[in-house]
């Protein structure tokens, strides 16, 4: 069997000839040794000078922002502030940009650890209380960190920015910011991770001395607005649980408090070491302490288990039936509380998190299906784009198709659902179990057929929605409704050659000029033929596990529905896509299309 090492070895080209390497190395080595001897005496003098500079810098008081590269202006507290309290964290991500090398003065009275970021995927819930003990030691440790050379180049990898905001007795503040990735600096010095860990340890010790082994006091927080907390929650202090579903603005669905003790007991007793190959690609569940800190579990759509990190180790948990039902029945809270859903953003391609009706408080449909009399039915999914509009015609036929044989399946987060709205304003949700549990998705098939008929009515126009900002990064998502080539209005080139660098165009895709887009679409229609696979007899009901083939193009309708065009793993030229009948197609671009695609490749 081929090993990973064999695969790596197979990548490497044939090495160049090494015949003269030894001689060249010896020649260079001798030359360097001569140069080194000459430089030694000069270096010794430089060391003496450097020692004098460092001694001056670290003497108490002298390093108080006076040295040329360490000077930072002290920021006064906002007007109206009284005394030296802990200043609030800045909100803008730009405030967390690491600047010049900083030397901090002693004498801080509080330190607040802050995190900056954009959407929920990139933000972290910071410790709610400030650190007020051992601050001189913290500052001394910070000032002893090595300075980063001025010409250092740090890559902008995915990372959560963090900062320590110090407040002094006179009310002024100083902030040192940085991030874990790249050069891992904070305040222009190497050691972000060390200072973050030091801060967490100090805060934990402070909590222990203040509250003993009791949970810290409650704080207001917004679940699902962050993907985790700087200090993970402790299982014994959990007071709430929410399921976060949808992208880019996840909706918080609260697990009933009556179910929580049993769910936590199940988790506590049945988690195990996570096996190899579990891909955590599903929704998350946040187990919350009263102070807003959380333990985050992520569901694996392909493995059907939840994974989480506990004491530095990856664990997996397969809930028992009661826990599964509690999770599946999690709903948006109907009364205002500390647990509130994230405000909806601008319209995006419809999915569970962006279709308002999918977040309605809804009762579960009986096993016999959705009751008759509904005026609208919405399709809700966590893993594919549904229609932006509800089905509001042919409803009797659709509701009749939902009866029977669905409920016995265990609930899973990749389950889809229909939400039916009735004239009195009530809503009923019918869960559609995923995968093999539900082999005959008659209701889904019927919904697609009836929605297609509804759209064919005279005067129907597609709802205009914006695709997600990171469209190309979501290439595992599919579209429920079939898309015809003639309905495509925009073509995007998806370049995922550097998936770790989340930088705008790569994940959003490059929009092709209309003329180029039309050329590709014409060629696609003309030079595509059915591939070996047969068309599926019904819409897919299984959440995708792993992509097959790299996405090259996204063909978009104005309503956000799309066709992915993927590169075939087994071919260097042919591309694949699926037509509106569900038939897999193979497309070999002609010369004009190939030239357009080639010109879009990164240089």
């Amino acid at each position: 069997m081929t090993s990973f090492r064999d695969r790596l070895h197979g990548l490497t080209p044939r090495p160049p000839s090494t015949d003269d390497w030894a001689a060249r190395a010896a020649t260079t080595g001798r030359a360097r040794r001569r140069t080194r001897n000459v430089a030694a005496s000069a270096a010794a003098a430089a060391v003496v000078a450097l020692a004098a500079v460092l001694a001056t810098q670290y003497l108490p008081g002298i390093g108080d922002g006076q040295n040329a590269d360490g000077r930072i202006p002290a920021t006064p507290l906002p007007a109206g502030s009284t005394g030296p309290v802990a200043a609030p964290c800045p909100r803008e991500a730009s405030d967390y940009v690491d600047g010049t090398t900083i030397t901090l003065p002693l004498g801080a009275v509080s330190l607040r650890w802050c995190t900056g970021g954009g959407d929920a995927m990139l933000s972290e819930y910071p410790p709610p209380e400030p650190l007020t003990r051992g601050l001189d030691a913290w500052v001394t440790a910070f000032n002893a960190l090595p300075k980063l050379p001025r010409d250092a180049a740090c890559t902008a990898d995915w990372s959560i920015p963090g900062a320590a905001l110090l407040t002094y007795a006179d009310g002024t503040t100083r902030m040192v910011a940085g991030m874990r990735a790249g050069c891992g600096t904070i305040g222009g010095r190497g050691g972000f991770e060390a200072m973050r860990t030091r801060t967490i340890d100090a805060l934990t010790a402070q909590r222990t001395s203040m509250f003993g082994n009791q949970a810290p006091p409650a704080e207001s927080s917004q679940p699902c607005a962050a993907h985790g907390s700087t200090i993970p929650a402790r299982l014994e202090w959990i007071t709430g649980a929410v399921v976060c579903e949808g992208y880019p603005t996840p909706t918080a669905k609260e697990v009933a408090s009556s179910s929580l003790p049993a769910l936590l007991a199940d988790l506590r007793h049945h988690h195990r070491s996570a096996g190899d190959g579990i891909i955590a690609d599903g929704p998350t569940m946040q187990l919350l302490q009263a102070n807003g800190e959380m333990l985050v579990l992520t569901f694996s759509l392909s493995s059907g288990v939840w994974t989480f990190s506990l004491d530095g180790a990856q664990r997996s948990w397969s809930p028992d039936e009661a826990s599964r039902v509690a999770i599946a029945q999690a709903s948006t809270p109907t009364t205002p509380s500390a647990i509130t859903p994230v405000p909806p953003a601008s319209p995006t391609i419809p999915s569970e998190g962006t279709v308002p009706a999918c977040s309605l408080p809804a009762s579960l449909a009986p096993a016999s299906g959705l009751p008759s009399g509904a005026t609208k039915v919405w399709f809700c999914s966590n893993w594919r784009f549904g229609p932006a509009e509800p089905l509001d015609t042919h409803l009797d036929e659709f509701l009749a198709s939902t009866g029977g044989g669905i409920e016995p399946c265990l609930a899973n987060p990749q389950d889809e659902s229909f939400v039916a709205v009735y004239p009195d304003g009530t809503a009923v949700k019918l869960r559609m179990p995923a995968g093999a549990c539900h082999p005959q998705p008659r209701a889904v098939t019927t919904f697609v057929r009836l929605m297609t008929e509804q759209r064919s009515a005279p005067g129907w126009t597609p709802t205009v929605v914006a695709p997600p900002q990171k469209l190309c990064a979501w290439d595992s998502w599919q579209t429920l409704m079939p898309v015809r080539l003639q309905d495509v209005t925009q073509v995007r080139f998806c370049d995922l050659s550097k998936v770790t660098q989340d930088d705008g165009s790569r994940v959003a895709g490059l929009v092709l000029k209309p003329t180029d887009a039309q050329t590709l679409l014409d060629d696609l229609a003309t030079h595509s033929s059915p591939s070996g696979s047969t068309a599926p007899s019904a819409p897919q009901t299984t959440a995708p596990g792993v992509n097959t083939g790299r996405v090259v193009l996204a063909l978009l309708r104005t309503n956000g529905e799309l066709i992915w065009v993927r590169a075939m793993p087994s071919s260097t030229t042919a591309l694949t896509w699926t037509d509106s009948a569900g038939q897999p197609m193979q497309w070999t671009p002609d010369a004009a299309s190939a030239a357009i695609l080639e010109a879009l490749q990164p240089r």
Binding site: F4, T12, T18, W21, R24, A26, G29, R33, V499, S571
Partner: protein, 186 residues
């Protein structure tokens, strides 16, 4: 695999020339996986050999493992080369992942997918992948060579493998042979 055993246990070479002749190609392959560039890989190895040439007599024993010393020089030079910012001279080439594509005909295009996935890793994660899973060093040896803790090596390996698993460029065949995540071992 014989050469890898030599790497782990160390051996004494009859001459510097013999060492370069026999181990130069393997060192160059590691450097190529790090950089994705033929010339830069050769520069790295040449530079490391020049730096280590004068240490050959002293370190060429089974205990000291001269090759590990040279390998450390290669990786330090590579990571230092990034830190110094001299990569700016070659930004365009680095951004073009074609640099990491094989320059010899492939058995199948799957291998190109692995190259793209590897190119997407941050440099330190890629360094850990090369040391742990290509050069076959232990976590402790990798940590020693990179001058970091074993925990840091595990973290880099964990993140690198997670990134590779998530990479849309990775073919199923490659995904299936990815090593076990060190953070997920009991």
């Amino acid at each position: 695999m014989t050469t890898m055993v030599q790497t782990r246990t160390g051996r004494d070479w009859s001459s510097f020339d013999e060492f370069v002749q026999l181990r130069g190609p393997a060192l160059w392959r590691s450097a190529w996986l790090l950089t994705g560039d033929r010339q830069r890989a050769e520069d790295l190895v040449q530079d490391a050999l020049a730096r280590c040439w004068s240490k050959f007599d002293r370190l060429n024993t089974a205990d000291d493992n001269y090759e590990a010393y040279v390998r450390k020089a290669i990786f330090n030079a590579h990571l230092g080369w990034w830190r110094r910012g001299t990569w700016r001279e070659r930004t365009r080439e680095l951004d073009d992942t074609a640099d990491l594509r094989p320059e010899v005909p492939l058995a199948s295009s799957d291998e190109g997918d692995l190259a793209r996935a590897l190119a997407g890793l941050p440099r330190q994660q890629r360094a850990v992948i090369v040391l742990r899973y290509y050069d076959d060093l232990t976590e402790a040896q990798t940590a020693d060579l990179l001058g970091v803790s074993v925990g840091t090596v595990k973290q880099h390996a964990h993140r690198a493998l997670a990134n590779l698993r998530r990479s849309p460029h990775l073919a199923e065949a490659d995904r299936a042979v990815l090593p076990t995540d060190p953070m997920e071992q009991p």
